[in-house]
Symmetry: C2
Subunit: 347 residues, 2 copies
Amino acid sequence: MPIIARMTSSPQQQDSGRPGEFELIAALKRVIDDSPPASEVIVGIGDDAAAVSVESGIHVMTTDTMVDGVHFLRERASWSDVGWKSAVSNLSDIAAMGAAPLHTLVTIGVPADVAVTDMEEMYRGLTGAFAEFGGGIVGGDVVSSSVFFVTVALTGRAAEEDGSPVVLRRDAAEAGDLIAVTGTIGGSVGGLSAVLDGLEGADAEALKQAHYRPVPRIAEGQMLVENGVHCAMDVSDGLVADLEKICAASEVGAVIKASDVPVPEELTSQFGEEALPMALSGGEDYELLFTLPFDLMDRLFARHRGMFTHIGHITDEPDEGDRVVMVDSDGVEMDLQSRGWDHLGAR
Amino acid sequence: MPIIARMTSSPQQQDSGRPGEFELIAALKRVIDDSPPASEVIVGIGDDAAAVSVESGIHVMTTDTMVDGVHFLRERASWSDVGWKSAVSNLSDIAAMGAAPLHTLVTIGVPADVAVTDMEEMYRGLTGAFAEFGGGIVGGDVVSSSVFFVTVALTGRAAEEDGSPVVLRRDAAEAGDLIAVTGTIGGSVGGLSAVLDGLEGADAEALKQAHYRPVPRIAEGQMLVENGVHCAMDVSDGLVADLEKICAASEVGAVIKASDVPVPEELTSQFGEEALPMALSGGEDYELLFTLPFDLMDRLFARHRGMFTHIGHITDEPDEGDRVVMVDSDGVEMDLQSRGWDHLGAR
């Protein structure tokens, strides 16, 4: 970590170097120091690497990047929201493994026209999310770049089922399992559409909040492991697209019932009949999509009613055609046009 | 890890999406699959996060980024060398903590004009370094970006001294310690200069090799811990600049003897009297700079002669003036003009 490490550089460097760099790093270090410290840190920011104490078990590791002009637009999003969402997209991956966040490395690529105060605001978005959900920042890198990007790498510790560490996997769905999802689906794409269409009012604002300030399902993921669930992922690319991934990894098919998909009321109020298609194909809701045997669903419902919704079931792998089909309330198959979006393309 | 995770996507996505993305990710996955697998992996590429088994102890974590036009020039460096050097700059941070590399996450930001074969070559540079020194790739992210960048995040496991995990720190130098460095210093900046000056011949090529294919001192770092050394860092920003960081962190000063700095013969043959100043201020040698008590140095010399060179000693913190001073063979203080360079500025 050569650059963050330079936070401890001697004053000579500050004077002889480009003052912007030293100032930026010192400002970011102050934001980190003002946030709750990461746990079990032996050596923090300022050495070649961070050092943390670990106990035996299973660790999970993920990384996710946001690039200006690809994943967000600087002109439109607040820097704080960029930081928050960058943290949450990673935290959600940890949640989708049923793990608890541990330690974070943050790298930023900084163009010359980004102000120190912008980056402080972005770091406050990051540290705000880590303070709320875990995963304190222990190091990182700051580099020059002609385009702004932020890369977060995050570790987590697997939860335990009957005393043994277990992770939620995509390839563990079995024919006959029920399919469920936490929270509601479609709020994030609704918020993006509300911004693009210039919608205002309480409902539009609620959708925008879902888009700019999503919440990772950290506690829910661990609860699923502790209750014996084995298959889950987070809804980041769209409900149908993500369910297809579970099906492909598990070599199964799936049926979802359109009327059971939990669409936010605000999405319906703002977009009417478009709400359901938006919910099916929109992404970045960061809810957990999971499958489980019927008897387990029964038990979970008894303990955690309101935390999730039953939306369908897993079938045998189809010989041909789509892995995921949707039916109406009469069980008649419906058309599924849009099947999720793609982060790599411009939005 | 939304994008690498999409490696397991269903064929529908391949057809409906941008073929370049799917093709790229599949190609990179093949390169990773062809390299030695990371150890203790429970869930690898294709889920929300990687999952790895860990034993109790101390883990170290680092991250380092290379941006086209800032840290290298696409037109000049081979993609394989970019990958190799990106891996080594991170491996060297792990070495500087005295740890053994464990698991790697790789993120690439890919402009539209970068070919799949370019990225395969870069990944072969990465996997080649990890195959040689440890730290297999377990996940990552692939995103669009107008400028190419590669971010590596790497974990490692601390070595043990008398059965307890210990890390090499920058803030552990004490007045009276001797200062030593592994290998030779200045080859990398010599190689860069040889490229810029259009130098040819065996000596120039040896310097270019030092610049494009540096070696992290993984085994040496662990050896230092096992022998009771507590203070080290890697030479990434220049010998004097990096020694200043040790001094600032440890609140001490340092004296180095110019004639004892191990400069490669090729640097002297190519650059004459400029060789020493280049060695003092050049960076990216990735040698280990460490301090240790006299009696320990004696023991290390007996066991590992040739592995390192004694170049000076640690003093009390100076009341004023430079923390690091250089003396000639008569002990007379010499001028130290250039004190290292700065990754954040353009080179």
